[in-house]
Structures are given as C-alpha cells and as structure tokens.
C-alpha cells in the first residue's frame, strides 16, 4: 500500500474522517554553506507551494532537509500535508486551486492527474537528474503514455519482517535466511506456545491493504517480474491458477491458526496495533514495510539489530526469482511552470537533497547518488541496500498500480472479507475480477 499510510501512522488511526491539514512554512536561517547550491539562481521573495500526504513529524524533517536550499536561494517552500491527500488533490486540481508541486504516492494517481491536462512536464535539469541517478524502472513509473512527468522522490521497501532481536535472543531463535527456515522457526515458536506472526488489516476506509501487500510479496516471489506486471495490468487475472496458488500460500502463512492465533481477529486489528506486541514477545514476527519502525519507535521501542525491534528481509520462496523486493514511492508532480517551481523540482531530484534527507531520519531514496553510509537509520540502510541492489527484482506495490476500483476498492474489501468472514479464495478472486473496469 501506499506511502500516504506512512504519514497517517504518526497521527494514528483516529483521524479517519477528520481532515487534518497542517500548514507549515520553511523559513530561512543564517550561516549556511551555500556551495552545493551554487547552480541555483537566487530568487528572493518567491514562494512555491507543495501539497503532500506526508504528515507531522515527517513534515518537519522534510523542512529541515530543505533548510539550506531555502536559505541559499531565498525561495520560500510552503509544504502542506493532509491525510485526505488523495481525495483533496483531484478536487483542488479540478477546482483551479492546484498546488505548484504535489508528491503523488502512487503512479495510478499520476495517470489521473495527467488526464486532467494540468500536469506540467519537468524541466531539463530534473530529467537529467532522473536519468543519472535512477534506474529505468523508476523513471518508467513516472512516465505516462511514453511521456516523462514525475521524478521519484522517496521510496519505501515492503519486503521486511519485523521482529525483536531481544526476544529472539532470549528464546534462542535465529533470523531466518530462507522461506523454509522461516516456516521451521514459526513451527518452533508455535511449539513454544508463542504467536509466530502478528497481523492487522484495519486502516479506516483503507482497511484490507496489508493483505494486498502479503499477496504481492508472494506473487513476486513465486513468479517474478513478468507475471507480477501482467497481474498488475490484468493480463493475468486474479482467478488465474497462479494467483490463486499464491493466495493459497498466503492463507497457509497468515491464515494459519497455528502461527497467527485468531485469524478473523486480524481483520479487526488495526495495522498500527498489529505489531505492538513484538517488543514484549506477545507475537514474534510481522511482515510490514520499512515505515513500521516509526510506529514501534513512537511506542518507545529501540530500533536496532540488538534492540527491542528490528527487521529482516522477507526471504525469497523461489530460487529462480533473484532478490524479490516489493516497494513503493512518491513522485514529484508539477502543476506550474514558474522558474522557482522548476528550481525546486531540480533540487528535489538531486542527490544533494536525497542525501541531506536520509541523514536526518526515516527516509529511503532509490537515488543512486546517495552513499549508503549517509543513512542515519539502520532500517533505511537495510532497505536502501535491497532497493539499490542491481540483482534485485523490483515490483512496485501492485494495488497502487491497479485501477482504483480494484487497488483501492474491491481488493481491499474482498481481502478483508477473506480474512474476517472466511470468504473462499474462489469467491474473492471472482469478485475482484468482476470489479476490474471494462476499458
């Protein structure tokens, strides 16, 4: 699921239908080294507005990362974050009140925005940055009908399993390197009377998305990028035996009462609460994206390879698929062509910005100009390691790429019913295929 969820966590699931909008201004400060910004023109008094799904506290970190750029160029950057971003952006764009820049958390939304005719193609400097620092697969994700529109900004990795190094040590468990090692470990935990896997699908109106992640992990792991991408474009249907088999495998994993305890309870547990028992050993492992460290950290857990919580790479299931990684990211999209807007676009796509951002905390960039050593956060470094691995098979979050009627509708609903109401895989896949838009 998309990055916007990441922002929502900080606030909590409480704000389901409350539109929590935060307005913050990046203001200039004195005495900074302006050498890295010598390529940018001074434009004092100009303001660029940015609209994003990123919320506090990450919004402040974002501002901090841009502080030097702001001080050196004099461009004011006004960042506005909303947990209703995906609902509000189309309204604002259609209403003629578009922001200068928006960070779109999914390529599907980019296609919608381009269709409105209001999206402005990026300047040459941004295109050059993207060509230099990002792989073709990332550039393709910001391309609509052969035309490049949006530069990648942040990215996140979903193929992680959260666990507690302290609890593992106390019980004498070791981090599994292969799928079989992981299932053997889970059996061992079950024999020890522990809940091996935590899980939660609850997420307000987006309830069900964690289950779409689990299925994506297995589809990519079992069949590789070709089938995965065909699945995204519906050339391979949900009712295809391959996808059904992948779902069977998910059922044997996250719906295995021996490992997860009360299966139906997963449907009513919020994804935020799901792994809160990890540091205390109430449950042992949780498959969740890199951002989950923020939630555990907010609960007071220390995130490190010897601390209360850490993550390991979700092992591959099929030796023919090399280093499968499912992830997501957001894309800087412009709705204005003013020079100051283009300068900010160039800056955001540069390695200078990415490096200054990852040095702060919790942020991963697939920008190859960022040295791994720059990462402050060990989880982010782990994620960046896999995202920048040239051998990895990368799959962008499928539910974000599918049409919203499926990826933000039927798939969430049906997978929730699959877990919560015990709906059969046959019925679930049939319903999702039926919801796929005809055109």
């Amino acid at each position: 699921m998309f990055k916007s969820k990441k922002g929502a966590l900080a606030i909590g699931a409480v704000a389901v239908s409350l539109v929590a909008t935060m307005l913050t201004t990046v203001s200039a400060s004195a005495a900074v080294n302006c050498d890295p910004y010598s390529g940018y023109k001074k434009m004092k008094g100009k303001t660029v507005t940015v609209f994003t799904s990123i919320l506090e506290p990450e919004l402040t970190t974002m501002k901090t990362a841009m502080k030097d750029f702001v001080a050196c160029t004099g461009i004011k950057v006004k960042i506005e974050g909303s947990n209703q971003f995906e609902a509000l952006l189309p309204v604002r764009v259609k209403g003629g009140n578009a922001p200068d820049l928006a960070f779109l958390p999914q390529p599907g939304l980019l296609v919608k925005m381009v269709a409105t005719g209001k999206v402005v193609a990026p300047p040459a400097g941004t295109v050059a940055n993207v060509n230099k620092y990002w792989s073709k697969s990332w550039k393709d994700l910001g391309t609509v009908k052969g035309k490049f529109y949006a530069a990648p900004l942040g990215s996140n990795m979903k193929s992680l399993v959260w666990y507690s190094p302290k609890q593992f040590k106390a019980a004498g468990y070791t981090v599994p390197k292969t799928w079989d090692e992981m299932t053997t470990l889970a059996d061992k935990m079950a024999a020890d009377g522990k809940i091996a896997f935590c899980g939660g699908l609850g997420s307000g109106g987006a309830t069900g998305w964690p289950a779409t992640d689990w299925v994506e992990q297995i589809v990519l792991r079992e069949y590789g990028a070709k089938v995965y991408n065909d699945w995204v474009s519906h050339k391979v249907k949900f009712s295809d035996p391959k996808i059904k088999a992948a779902m069977q495998k998910v059922a044997g994993w996250m719906q295995n009462p021996k490992w997860v305890g009360n299966v139906k309870g997963i449907a009513t547990t919020t994804f935020q609460d799901a792994g809160k028992g990890i540091p205390t050993g109430k449950c042992m492992m949780l498959q969740q994206a890199s951002f989950y460290g923020n939630i555990l950290g907010a609960e007071g857990a220390t995130i490190s390879s010897t601390g209360d919580a850490f993550a390991f790479y979700l092992p591959a299931t099929n030796s023919k698929v090399s280093v499968p990684v499912v992830g997501g990211g957001e894309f800087t999209t412009a709705f204005a062509k003013r020079p100051e807007v283009q300068q900010v676009q160039n800056y955001l796509s540069s390695a200078t910005f990415a490096t200054s951002r990852v040095q702060l905390d919790h942020w991963v960039s697939a920008n190859s100009g960022v040295p791994l050593a720059a990462y402050k956060d060990p989880i982010d470094r782990l994620a960046a390691e896999y995202l920048s691995n040239s051998k990895s098979t990368f799959g962008f979050d499928a539910s974000d790429l599918m049409p919203a009627a499926v990826g933000a509708g039927a798939e969430w609903k049906e997978f929730t019913a699959w877990f919560g109401e015990g709906k059969s895989i046959d019925d679930v896949t049939k319903a999702i295929d039926a919801a796929w838009p005809a055109s």
């Binding site: 409350l18 809940i195 609850g202 997420s203 305890g261 009360n262 919203a404 509708g409």
Partner: protein
C-alpha cells in the same frame, strides 16, 4: 510561529475588510430599497430579500444537483456518457445489495427507536423534580460528533484476541452473564445493530428535548379538564398528550429518517464498511473519493436523493396542512 502569526493576522484583517464592505453594500441596498415608493415598492423588497437566497440556493444546491444527475450517466472521469450503466451496476452488484438492505434497515429501525425512546423519556421526565439534570445528561452525547462517539464505542465493542484480557465493556458484560466474548464487529447481522446503538445514543437526547418542548406546550387547562374527567396515565397520554404532539413527533421522526439515510461517519469509523455493515452514503463516498469513480458515486447520490425526497415532501405537506388548520 512568527510567520504563522503575521499570516493569520493578515488573513484576519482581510476577513474584517470583506465583512465591512459587505455590510456597506447591504446597507446601501436596503437604504435604496427603503426609499423606493409606490407600485415598485413591494417588488423591489421581494427581489432584495429573496434574490440573494435564491442565488445561493442555485449555486450551492440546484446546479450541483443537476450536475450530479448528469455525472451519474457518465464514466468514472465524467468524460463520456455511458447511459444507464452506473444504475445497472447499482442494481446488479452484490455488494450494493448489502448496502441497500443495510440502509433500509437503518431507516426502519433507527428513527422509530430513537424517536420512541425520546418520547418515552420526555413523558417520563416531564414535571419531575429537577428534570433538567437527567435531561442534560441524556442530551449530552448530542454534543459529540458521530466520529467521536464511534471512537468511544469502539472501546465498548473492543475485542482482545488470543487469550488476552478483554477490555471491551460489552465483552465484559457478556462474560458476567456467562456468555463468551466475541469479535463483535464480525458478527453478522448483529454488527449493524451495534452500530445503530451509537446513532441512537447520540440522537435520543435531541428527540427528547424537542418532544419535551412540545409536551410543555400542551395547554394545562386541557390536561386539567381531562384529569377532571378521570383520565390519567396511559389514557391521558393516548388521548391528550400524543395527539397534541403528533406533529412534532412526525417532524422528529422525519429528521431521524433523513439522518439515518445520510449516515456515514459511524460506519466509516467503526468498520470502514466491511463485514456487511456498509451503507449508501459510505459507499458513495468510497466510490467518488477512494475509487475515483465519479459516475457510480453520482448514481448512488441520486439514489440517496430520490429516497430522501418523499420524506421531505411529506414533511412539507404536513407542515402546510398544520399551518392551514391554524
């Protein structure tokens, strides 16, 4: 913080200037209208009083309503016409069948119970010593938004899995009487009724206050006369009180029906429309703002609009008839 302050001060002064200009314009118009004499006087007054309201109604209500109807015949992006495809989907889709059934259930159950309990409380508390205290307590949930109320009730319905201690009130009450705690939000069709309780909890106070005011308006000489004739208790209520407050009762009932039809917040907060609890307004929101399907969302909106209309029409007719009687 400084930037925020100057920013808000700037906006505040803008607002004040706008209000001042608006008032001056209004004063000028009224001044001119006041000077108008003769045969135009009435017409000008009508235009001045009715004009702005009519304009705002047109822009804020009539135009969007027509636009929604047009959108309901178009594709998700409101570009091409698709005929009755969205309405066909509404009739065929099994999920929408659940949505419609639930909405009907809400309309049938919630208004009657809410207004019924409201009336019962109004009658029972009437002329009680210190009646304002229980009334205030019952009215209080009204001050909480549906989202807030839902979050409170989430704790009541909470279910802890895998042998952890139950913290939910409902689970504990059930255990007290020897039952087994359940994951309440998954139990169909009980979950829909559990959600209804939240609505009833919030709205009963409102029904009670309105009905109580109506009961207080019943002339005491009538009540005294009927008492002299030997009517009391149930007889008094059936033959005197209820007929006198019938009009108010129907208005409150109609308000509750409209409220139940439009209900969105509770379902969205509690279950997100999952586990067979979805209702029309929530599905409409999801279609437009989550799945970005303007067409289907608009078709649902039209369905909602059409189902609300008869109640509103009945309400208006009823009001007119009452006025005519006076």
């Amino acid at each position: 913080m400084g930037a925020f302050l100057t920013d808000s001060l700037g906006k505040l002064s803008q607002v004040l200037v706008a209000i001042a200009i608006f008032s001056i314009v209004l004063l000028a118009i009224f001044g001119i209208a006041g000077r108008a004499k003769g045969k135009y006087q009435n017409k000008i007054a009508q235009i001045i009083f009715f004009g702005p309201a009519a304009f705002l109604l047109l822009v804020g209500l009539v135009v969007p309503a027509i636009q929604t109807i047009i959108f309901s015949f178009k594709d998700p992006d409101s570009v091409n016409f698709v005929g009755f495809a969205n309405y066909k989907w509404m009739l065929i889709d099994p999920n929408i069948k659940t949505v419609m059934l639930n909405t009907i259930l809400w309309i049938l159950v919630v208004p009657l119970i809410t207004t019924g309990i409201g009336l019962l409380l109004a009658v029972m508390l009437d002329r009680l010593k210190r009646e304002s205290i229980p009334k205030s307590l019952i009215f209080m949930p009204m001050a909480i938004s549906f989202v807030g109320a839902s979050i409170i009730w989430k704790f009541v319905y909470d279910y802890a899995k895998d042998g952890y201690p139950q913290t939910g009130l409902l689970s504990n009450i059930v255990s007290l009487f020897g039952g087994t705690p359940q994951n309440w939000m998954l139990v169909k069709p009980l979950n829909t009724f559990l959600l209804m309780i939240i609505f009833i909890w919030v709205q009963t106070g409102f029904a009670m206050v309105i009905l109580s005011a109506a009961i207080k308006a019943v002339p005491s000489d009538i009540v005294e006369a009927s008492a002299l004739d030997g009517a009391s208790g149930w007889k008094l209520f059936k033959n005197i009180t209820f007929p006198m407050v019938r009009g108010t009762f129907i208005v409150v009932l109609a308000t509750m029906v409209v409220g139940a039809l439009k209900l969105f917040d509770i379902v969205r907060t509690m279950t997100g429309g999952n586990f067979g609890t979805n209702v029309l307004a929530n599905e409409m929101y999801s279609q437009v703002f989550v799945q970005f399907d303007q067409g289907k969302g608009s078709a649902l909106a039209v369905a909602l609009f059409i189902s609300v209309s008869p109640i509103l029409i009945y309400n208006i007719i009823h009001l007119r008839r009452e006025r005519a009687q006076r």
